[in-house]
Symmetry: C2
Subunit: 162 residues, 2 copies
């Protein structure tokens, strides 16, 4: 492997590690556990999982892989900051699992085809001018940010389940 | 910038972003806030901060930058899983701030000198044989993992302070 290939593969491998940690945690949740709050008055596990699904869904167009699969997950009832009075009807764990698997499998399939040059290329939410001014606004930056996003919410989620 | 330089610079920039987010949060804590638990019976802010300092301190030898600055931070009283009965005497915020700044400034100075080839090179906790078998056990992998480590604990810490 060349150096650029090694660096790209290292970042992708770490994305997969964090995604698998999240998968292991969230996929094991029961319908009884989904409404648990991570701390009194804080987000519930169902919200964190739905939020991760929607954010990963948005990565598909952001990285030029394809269209979103579940744009309706942005509905305020699911993805606005979690409040019990709004989120009255919880999606069952089986639905969340299905959305989660579908989005992540499309994402991972797309990411696996990226060359180092693809990773260094601009994502779709930055203009040509802005990218010319700052070449670090690239697809790798999106991947690293979304990897840390998983880590952040998983760090919170495990508090509820302990 | 070459592709390998862009990829390395992107990862380093994201480390700095997460480190600055953590710095903004932890450096603003008062001695009154440090004992706050992130959730009832969970880790306190003082533990999370001390833990991040010690983990970053360990990155210095792990990445071949230099010796640890504060090996005594590994003492069970500070860094073992936080329990009120053990952590009876809290270090003041001013000490934590000083340790945090010193470790991170040495770390960032060292990381800024890394070439793409340095990032793709093995870290010091992997043997030559293991590295030959898996070239992804490199310094970039350490950086990505420690960046996500900040994200994870910062995600927990902000719950306590809201």
């Amino acid at each position: 492997m060349s150096i650029e290939q090694t660096l790209a593969a290292t970042a992708l491998a770490f994305w997969k590690i964090e995604l698998e940690r999240a998968d292991k945690f969230f996929s094991a949740l029961t319908d009884e556990q989904l409404p648990l709050e991570i701390a009194p008055g804080r987000n519930r596990l169902v919200y964190l999982w739905g939020h991760l699904i929607a954010v990963h869904d948005r990565m598909l167009p952001l990285l030029g892989i394809g269209e979103r699969v579940y744009p309706y997950l942005d509905a305020p009832s699911l993805l606005e900051a979690d409040r019990s009075e709004k989120l009255t009807t919880l999606p069952p764990a089986a639905d969340l699992k299905r959305w989660w698997d579908e989005v992540n499998s499309r994402l991972t399939a797309g990411l696996s085809n990226f060359t180092p040059a693809d990773w260094a290329a601009k994502h779709t939410a930055v203009s040509d001018e802005a990218f010319a001014a700052n070449p670090l606004r690239n697809r790798l930056a999106v991947l690293l940010s979304r990897t840390a996003h998983i880590s952040s919410h998983l760090g919170q989620a495990v508090i509820a389940a302990k």
